[in-house]
């Protein structure tokens, strides 16, 4: 958890129309209703736009298993922002 957690969570809340959604590092796409492959694209586009970053395909895994979870997305975004 860091100060980037809040804005990413805001993006998710908007996309899932759920004002109470709470993100955790361990969360995977399987844990969230409505997180299908299309929503996945929507998440990537929204996060890229919100933070002005661009992920490589390898960085944006399907977020469906352990090690490939929301923490993985945080990590990718953290690396991107650090590199700017």
């Amino acid at each position: 958890m860091d100060d980037l957690h809040e804005p990413v969570q805001a993006v998710f809340r908007e996309l899932f129309d759920d004002d109470e959604m709470v993100l955790s590092d361990e969360m995977t796409a399987r844990d969230v209703r409505g997180w299908d492959s299309l929503m996945h694209i929507n998440i990537i586009v929204a996060v890229e736009k919100r933070f002005g970053v661009r992920f490589a395909n390898a960085e944006i895994s399907d977020l469906k298993s352990e090690g490939k979870n929301v923490g993985n997305l945080f990590e990718a975004r953290r690396n991107k922002l650090a590199g700017q």
Binding site: L15, L38, I41, V45, K49, N57, I60
Partner: protein
């Protein structure tokens, strides 16, 4: 809500996130308490073609709730989206949103991934179960079926291109013959990577050159029921590398970069809207700081900036030239200005750098009334709907006022720099073209000639005298290949003098032409002021010994000229020839056609039925002692 939408629309697109968030929150609050009808106009206003992917998706989710809350549309346009080897889900969602934004009640069907051919070729497919009125083939360059190898000869490449065309033409024909639908077919977006680098377009077998060849063949050979949607231009417009963001193809087989999907959907919908007669008809222009730099009333002829020699003057000249080019293809031009009329006219009469002249302007309104009221006057004088107007004015206060007081008028938000206005206007695709007719270029002239006729009228004293003085000649003929497109266009566009507002496609009319039970007629009219062209269409079917009028419509350019009486006489003769016992007519009321509520009563029909929904049915017995109606129109024989 009105204030939220206005503040979203009036901020520049790079700084509107905050205003958009507020608008979303406002929309959600209204929808939450069941205010679906209240939310709808603001949802429409917010769905701009320039919005980003994520915001458009947010609007789509609100749209879905609004749609579910509103009553089912009575007779929706049935749009089927068949994807090639691309994912169409988001595209289909955005198309649905933009159809709604364009005021089109639609039902949308989306095929599964890459089953376009199965959908069309299998008579039991979901597509045919759905029964489409419009079928959109959402293909990309990856759907090419006959790509050449680099060492193929020119003749092989030509052969492959012919097979490529035949492949798609066969699909069009099958789906069209089965359902009578219109087809919208993408052309192929040229891939950005070029194996032959700068030589790509000169080598016949290179992919880039092949794509260009096939695209030209599609345009040259598409039948009237097929619209070629220029996907390649969208790609070039945003930049081919940006458009083709390969990440999203690898990840999810997206047809293009997600951010480009909004414009893509808007473009597809604009083509469908034009086919449905929803394109705008009239460009209304302000004057000071819109057509020239400066204020004519203060600065005088010597002080306004227009023309070659300085950048600002050139930008305004470019806007004038753009408007003049639009007029040249049939868009009506009008002026709406806060000025003394004589002063407002001065530059048109005396400033040599003006590209626009007074005779380009069909309706010139300059006074001190508010512009919303003046726009209503303009719509009335031109006899077109307020929703056919696009209002271009440099003053943000005037724009906001018109949006508020005449919300039917399209009012694009313009950047401060007039040099950026043309691209801004183009983004909205207001004047999208479904088909081009030779007559279109004269379209704006008709409205001006009409103004001239109006001026003759009072002086001639009696209406009969006036009509006689017009020397009208009419030609009535069955609809044929040379009149099919114009007739269809009239079916699409006519709202006021239209008894049933049935938007038959050219495909359906073709079927009627080939069916003996159907009678199709078009009327063309000339008078001493000029040729008004094809101005009326009648479709009727012999059914159980009765001639049943399916469609009777007329262009409002020729109202009160006796054309309907003239056509009635022709129709009666025809009914006798066909040996039917009666002619039956139907009036289906809409928001726009109160004008013809008493059409059949005036022609001597008797009302026989009036179901609850306001529809009325009329009959006229066919006898031998019927007296033809008086008209001042002479019949012209079909061969000239």
């Amino acid at each position: 809500m009105k204030a939220l939408l206005e503040s979203f629309l009036s901020v520049p697109s790079n700084g509107r996130e905050g205003a958009f968030r507020d608008l979303l929150a406002g929309l959600r609050a209204v929808v939450k308490v069941g205010g679906y009808e209240d939310a709808a106009p603001f949802l429409r206003g917010a769905a701009l073609p320039t919005l980003d992917f994520t915001s458009t998706h947010s609007l789509f989710r609100i749209y879905r709730r609004v749609r579910a809350g509103l009553p089912e549309p009575y007779d929706p346009v049935r749009v089927a989206i068949l994807g090639g080897s691309v994912t169409t889900t988001q595209l289909a969602q955005f198309i649905e949103l933009h159809l709604f934004a364009a005021g089109i009640d639609a039902a949308v069907y989306e095929s599964d991934f890459d089953v376009l051919r199965q959908e069309i070729l299998d008579p039991a497919s979901g597509l045919y179960g759905f029964g489409p009125g419009i079928v959109f083939l959402a293909t990309s360059w990856r759907d090419l079926t006959h790509t050449p190898a680099l060492d193929d000869s020119v003749s092989t490449v030509e052969e492959l291109a012919a097979q490529e065309l035949a492949h798609w033409a066969a699909l069009w024909q099958t789906v069209h013959e089965t359902t009578g639908c219109q087809v919208v077919q993408n052309n192929f977006d040229a891939p950005p990577a070029r194996v032959l680098a700068n030589r790509e377009m000169r080598h016949p077998a290179a992919l880039g050159s092949y794509v260009a060849r096939v695209n030209q063949a599609l345009c040259d050979n598409a039948p009237p029921y097929v619209t070629i949607h220029d996907l390649d231009h969208l790609s070039a417009g945003v930049g081919r590398w940006t458009w083709a963001d390969a990440r999203f193809h690898f990840l999810a087989k997206m047809p293009c970069a997600p951010e480009c999907l909004v414009d893509y959907a808007h473009s597809v919908v604009s083509v469908m809207a034009a086919q449905l007669g929803r394109a705008k008809k009239c460009l209304v222009l302000g004057l000071d700081n819109t057509l020239w730099g400066g204020v004519i009333g203060d600065d005088g002829l010597g002080g306004i900036r227009l023309g070659l020699g300085n950048a600002e003057g050139e930008a305004f000249l470019a806007i004038q030239q753009y408007a003049k080019d639009l007029r040249g293809r049939g868009v009506i031009l009008a002026v709406c200005s806060k000025n003394e009329e004589s002063i407002a006219r001065e530059p048109f009469e005396r400033f040599s750098e003006m590209a626009l002249r007074l005779d380009d302007i069909a309706c010139f309104v300059a006074n001190w009334n508010d512009k919303a009221a003046n726009l209503r006057t303009i719509a009335q004088q031109l006899d077109i709907g307020l929703d056919s107007l696009v209002f271009v004015d440099d003053n943000p206060v005037e724009r906001a006022l018109v949006r508020s007081l005449a919300p039917e008028v399209a009012v694009p938000e313009l950047p401060e720099d007039p040099a950026a206005w043309i691209p801004t206007l183009e983004q909205y695709r207001y004047f999208q073209v479904a088909s081009i007719q030779a007559e279109d270029s004269q379209h704006a002239d008709y409205y001006q000639a009409n103004a001239a006729r109006q001026q003759v009228e009072p002086e001639t004293g009696s209406l009969d005298g006036f009509l006689r003085s017009l020397d009208m000649k009419a030609r009535v003929e069955p609809i044929g290949p040379d009149t099919l497109e114009r007739s269809t266009q009239l079916l699409d566009r006519s709202n006021q003098f239209n008894l049933t507002t049935r938007r038959h496609t050219s495909a359906q009319i073709l079927a009627m032409i080939g069916d003996d039970a159907w009678v199709t007629r078009s009327v063309s009219l000339t008078d001493r002021f000029g040729d008004t062209g094809l101005i009326s269409v009648l479709l009727a079917k012999v059914d159980g010994g009765v001639l049943d009028i399916d469609t009777w419509l007329m262009s409002c350019r020729v109202l009160k000229r006796g054309v309907e009486a003239f056509l009635m006489n022709q129709l009666y003769d025809l009914a006798r020839e066909r040996g039917v016992s009666a002619i039956r007519g139907t009036y289906i009321p809409t928001a726009r056609n109160a004008l013809v509520r008493d059409h059949y009563a005036t022609l001597g029909f008797t009302q026989v039925d009036a179901p609850e929904d306001g529809t009325t049915r009329w009959e006229l017995a066919v006898t031998n002692d019927w007296a033809a109606l008086e008209t001042f129109i002479e019949e012209e024989s079909a061969d000239g």
